[in-house]
């Protein structure tokens, strides 16, 4: 493997300083399950890896009724192991359980999955559906980017050289909300998503009308997609199959999959529609069940 230097700063300021000095020749290292492979294959050629796992802010995991603050280096196993996250931000926990296998989940982070910016990254549709906001530190201060604007192309995102994703902030979950993430893959586990769908829905006090909805798609475009129209058509609608069908069709309409070894365009468009229907149904069911808590 390529020779590189390694530093493990203990503060965001030190990390940003190291990254700014080296610019594009430095990369932050969290779980390393993508990064180390990319360095080995030559896809990335850093001169310096900045290990960010010793920085408190990037290891933060605070979940309550007030919202969720998720440090960028927190590994998947901590996320799905948190009972509050599993209850309130179910789609995120589900994404984390399905990235790779146990060995990967014990190291890989959602922050890293997002920064890797793969079109099929399993955590990203859930982040979009749950309205996460990226908190980014750089030499000139901190900025925030809504997660659906973070990825800009396959493997590309809005981070400038010298910038570091510090955490993801999620708004508090509204009462009677449910979320779900599922993907289609040929096996039961491992694999890369052929189509991934996440949804979050909120119901009115009588649980028969949808008051808020968000649908996100993965692996059917150059980046994960916020299916704005698919969410919009559900707002104010009674919970029934007509509304769900309309949403599924609207989601399919914005999918832009490619033909590759995992599936054809036609197959992926079909599966998108099927999955949106199923995921919305489950999210609605979960929203209903929260009432009884």
């Amino acid at each position: 493997m390529r020779d590189f230097e390694y530093e493990a700063p203990r503060s965001v300021a030190d990390a940003v300083s190291l990254l700014s000095r080296s610019g594009a020749r430095a990369r932050p290292l969290a779980g390393g399950t993508d990064l180390i492979d990319h360095v080995r294959t030559g896809r990335l050629a850093p001169d310096l890896l900045v290990d960010v796992k010793k920085i408190d802010e990037l290891n933060r995991l605070e979940c309550s009724e007030a919202g969720l603050r998720l440090g960028a280096a927190v590994p998947c196993y901590r996320i799905y192991g948190d009972a509050q996250i599993a209850a309130r931000y179910a789609a995120l926990a589900e994404s984390c359980r399905i990235i790779g296998g146990i060995q990967i989940q014990n190291r890989a982070s959602v922050g890293g999955n997002l920064c890797n910016s793969g079109p099929a990254g399993d955590s990203i549709p859930s982040l979009i559906a749950l309205e996460a906001v990226c908190v980014i530190a750089g030499a000139h201060g901190t900025r925030e980017v809504p997660v659906h604007e973070f990825c800009i192309g396959p493997g590309k995102n809005v981070l400038e050289p010298g910038e570091l994703l510090v955490e993801l902030k999620f708004p508090a979950r509204r009462a009677r909300s449910g979320s779900h993430y599922r993907r289609f893959i040929p096996r039961n586990e491992m694999d890369i998503a052929v189509v991934g769908v996440a949804a979050s829905v909120t119901l009115d006090p009588k649980a028969d009308r949808i008051t808020a909805a968000r649908v996100a798609l993965g692996a059917v475009g150059p980046t994960p997609l916020l299916a704005t129209e698919a969410g919009r058509v559900l707002v104010g609608r009674p919970v029934d199959s007509i509304a769900i069908e309309e949403s599924a069709r609207a989601a399919r309409a914005i999918a832009q999959p490619i033909d590759d070894m995992r599936g054809t365009v036609e197959f992926r468009l079909h599966v998108t529609e099927v999955l949106v229907r199923r995921i919305l149904t489950e999210a609605i069911d979960r929203a209903r069940r929260t009432e009884r808590d």
Binding site: M1, R2, D3, F4, E5, Y6, L29, G31, G32, T33, I36, D37, V39, R40, T41, L49, D51, K53, Y77, G100, G101, I102, Q103, I104, N106, R107, N188, E189, M190
Partner: protein
Amino acid sequence: MTRKRIVTARINGKEHEFLCAPRQTLLEVLRDVLGLTGTKEGCSNGNCGACTVLLDGRAVDSCLVLAVETEGCRVDTIEGLAATDRLHPLQQAFLEGAALQCGICTPGFLMSAKALLDRNDDPSEEEIRFALAGNLCRCTGYDKIVRAVQATVATTAAGASQGACE
């Protein structure tokens, strides 16, 4: 050439101090620097699990961990699984159940299975299969491996209840 680092880690219960370059993975250091060749290299990219070791008690692909990241950590490899005078129950079950052929995946499977049983002493078949999903085997078809883990659960439970009666 970058300068080498001194790393101290507790490997199979014993403190080890070793020199390594940042680019050397834990897998490379275990095999080439420390001579612990029980951990195998299969794919070098986190797909096959042949390189599975326990890092602070959790199963990881050592091909995706840099050795410098293990400073101050606990590492458990296949060499530490057996007691001095007898095999670990999982090893015994794998042998008796013919849960290996060429054996290259076996150390990884044993470490993943150990990690599972350390946390869950009565896993369902689905839980076993899911816990071992990150380990690939080209020879056996997996069935005997899963049965060996189930047999280990059964013998451990039987042994425990025997002990309780004594």
